[in-house]
Structure formats: C-alpha cells, structure tokens
Amino acid sequence: MMKREECFRILARHIKDEAVVATYSSAFEWDAIKPRALNYLSIGAMGLDSSHGLGLALGRPDRRVIVLQGDGSLLMNLGSLVTIAAVAPKNLVHLVAHNGTYEANGSHPLPEPRVDFAGMARAAGYAAVYDFADLEIFTQQIAHVLEQDGPVFATLRVEPSGPLTYDYRRIYDPAKRRAFKAAW
C-alpha cells in the first residue's frame, strides 16, 4: 500500500506541459505539491473528472492530459471508462487513487472498497492498464506509463490520507480557470 502524496510527489518529477485534471482530495494534494496554471481543478460535479479529461484530450491531441481521479468519483461515472476506451485518445492517462473511502465527505467507505478498477478499465478496452500497490515499482514505471499511447489507466492503491484542509473557494477560483485556458 502506498501514500497518495508520495505517488504525486514522484509524478510531479515527470510533469512537463501536460494538463492535470484533479478533484477533491487529489486536487488539494496535487495543487500543493505542484501548483501551476495547467492544473484543471474546476470539475463542477463529482465523477466528471474523467469526462473533462476526455474533452481536453480531444481538443488538444498534440498535448497530453493526466486525470487524477478518486475512487469514489470514478464510481459515480463508471460509464466514462467505456466512453474513453471507445474514443481511444492516445494522449490521455487516467490515474485513480484507490483508498476505499469518500475521503472528502467524511471518510466513509465505498459500498465495496475492494472493487477492481484496473479490471474494469481492462474490460472496457483501455490500451494499457496498470495496478500499483508498491511505491518502488510505481517509481520505476511511471515515466513509461506517462509516455505510452493511451488511453492508459492505472490504479494507485493508497492509504487514506490524514486530515486535509478543503479550501474550495481557492481551487474553484474563476482566475484559476482563466489561467488554465491561457496556458492550454
């Protein structure tokens, strides 16, 4: 089992000009580790991170898009796995932090915390699928995960985080959306 923050710190070493879509706990943690205009944090409705990512990827096929989705979010939009696999954008990397809880809403458990997201992505037809539970292996493979033709999916099996500060006004600031558009 890994820590999400550790995974994001390793991921941050590989980030160049990609758009990074993140929401809720992942958004706060990611934006603290790697604050930048190309962080896309205004999702508007839980679960739609993966759909925003697909739209970004289709609009700029010359740029890569990384989605940092929570497991509770993906459960709200499982159909997006099928949609993304069907559209098959080569420039989309879909990472799901699987901690088994709705962390931003009181850390209550998912209906079934053992759900196999990588298996679902594989069955949906993603081009490549990974399931990481070991930080050393994640560290060794993340560069390849980010560079290969997508859509790429990876589960990051992580522990629930400690208490986070959820300053939604900051991450949903319209200025952040304007900055993203200017940078994209």
Binding site: H52, G55, N77
Partner: protein, 172 residues
Amino acid sequence: MAATTSAALSGGKIIAAIKASGVDYILSVPDIVTSSGLLAPIADDKALRLVRVCKEDECIGIASGLSYSDTRALILIQHTGFLDSINAIRGIAVDYQQPICMMVGLLQHDPEVAPRASPSYGVRIVEPILDDMGIAHHLINADADVGKIKPEIDAAYRESHPVVFLIGRSPS
C-alpha cells in the same frame, strides 16, 4: 396554449445550422425524438465528429474540456437525460459559466401544445427549471425556428454561457 405550429421540421436544416455554427463534436446518448432525423444522419456525416457516451452528464464534462481549446460541441440528448444531468449543468454550465450547448428532445411531447402545458409532467417542468437556472432556451418546433440555432451557439461561445434548444417534434 398553442406552441409554434407547422407541419415540418427538417433534420437536414438543423444539421446545416449546427455545421454553420462551427460545431466540431456532437456528444450524444440516443433520444427517440431525434434518433432518425438527427443522430442517424450525424453518425454518417464525416464533417461532424460523434462521441457516443454512456450517460448524459458525461457530455457536460466533455464539452467543458473541449471548450478550453475553443473546440465547439453540441450535446444531443433526451429531456430525461437533461433532468438526470442537472447537477453537472448547475456546476459546469451555470456556476462556471461554460459554453455548454444542448439540443434536447422532448419525449412524448405534442408539438401542437406548448411544453409548459404538456400533459407529460417530465416535459412540463423542463422550461421552468431552465428559467430558474437562468439558462437561455429556445423551442425548435418547425423549420422557421431553425434560424435561432447559429446565433445562439455563437453567443454561447462568445459570452461563455449555456444554451438549450428544445426539439419539440421529430425532425424528418
């Protein structure tokens, strides 16, 4: 209350208006009102890129993502899917003032009756909900209404706000 009355609504004219609006992507879950007159010909039209999604609220996120590269999209869904997507529309189209353009088929609607007076509860509540959300909407019931499409899509992208076209009869 009478709605716009005319015998015909041409799917070909609607598609021409969509193309004239600079729309590249159609995002859709099939809707029986627009199935044969719009979605089927769009699927065969090489000038439009169709993304078939599993659930209507996906369209709202995809259209938002596309808008950041100034790539225009039109969402083609049924009013039941619109109702199912209200929170996404609230968050993305209204709170974030994104140019989300929707074409919504009114299932079980009688085109000779105004939607607000429809015997169908689901149809009757659509326009009041849009009014409460402050979303511009236009009834496309006849060929004479098709001229509303291009200027309203242009305005939605120019001014960054949502717009809804309610399809009141099956296009031929």
